[in-house]
Amino acid sequence: MKLTELIRELALTVRSADKGLDREVKGGYASDLLSDVMAHSKEGDIWVTIQGHPNVVAVATLRDLAGIILANGRQPDAETVQRAEEEGVPILCTPLPTYEIVGRLYRLGIHGQD
């Protein structure tokens, strides 16, 4: 499923890299610990977190993630948006809490394991 479809199905707000939304989402990972995401996320994953600081962009870039969903109404810092634009990392926002957005992603066929 492409990011564009997720955005439509889950009413996500796009905060950065609106040119990178054609990307295919292969799976998902949810965590607020950056080392945990570094260790366990997979290429092409959508990452659900409540961390909105600029370091999330580095993690997403280094792991080749498809994009970041900020849950619970969290918004990215201005600097996060700027860095995400530079690196082409899509940041999407939802008012839903992590548990709820992950459940809805799963229902759309985005799984954490094969």
Binding site: D32, L33, L34, S35, D36, M38, A39, E43, T49, Q51, H53, P54, N55, V57, A58, V59, T61, L62, R63, D64, E79, E87
Partner: protein
């Protein structure tokens, strides 16, 4: 390519969370451009990022040296900082001395050194309390299959 030393060095500032991760992004970019296997590059990125973040989180400043040798990649990160009093303890998964404000950002899970260990073929740490730490990592790329 001949005669060109495949070696780079980048400065890392302690507590500079703004620029944190940029050095590892450079390392990754270089490897990608040189055509290394993407899965291998992602593993190197983990090790490099964790070493870089340890300087940002725990030390004053440091340098990441990165070299492509005939058989392997070598990353050496040396810093000026408090040093590690008990390396075996620091290596334990979950052990962290990171203060609350760093944990709130999602760092300080105590997974950095274990992540480095898992993603390298050799990991050597030398540290002097009150002076600094040297982390040396050797990572061998998968042999090309033909």
């Amino acid at each position: 390519m001949q005669g060109k030393a495949l070696e780079w060095a980048y400065e890392i500032e302690g507590k500079d969370f703004r620029n944190a991760g940029k050095v590892s992004s450079k390392v990754k970019e270089i490897l990608k451009e040189l055509g290394f296997d993407p899965a291998f590059v992602r593993g190197v990125a983990i090790a490099s990022y964790e070493a870089e973040m340890n300087v940002v989180c725990h030390a004053e400043k440091g340098t990441l040296h990165f070299a492509i040798l005939p058989e392997a990649l070598k990353i050496v990160v040396e810093d000026q900082g408090p040093g590690i009093p008990d390396i075996a303890l620091a290596m334990q998964e979950g052990y962290s001395t990171a203060p609350a404000e760093i944990r709130e950002m999602g760092f300080g899970a105590g997974m950095g050194l274990p992540n480095m260990k898992k993603n390298t073929d050799e990991l050597n740490i030398a540290s002097t309390v009150g002076k600094g730490t040297v982390v040396e990592m050797v990572i061998r790329p998968p042999l090309p299959r033909e």
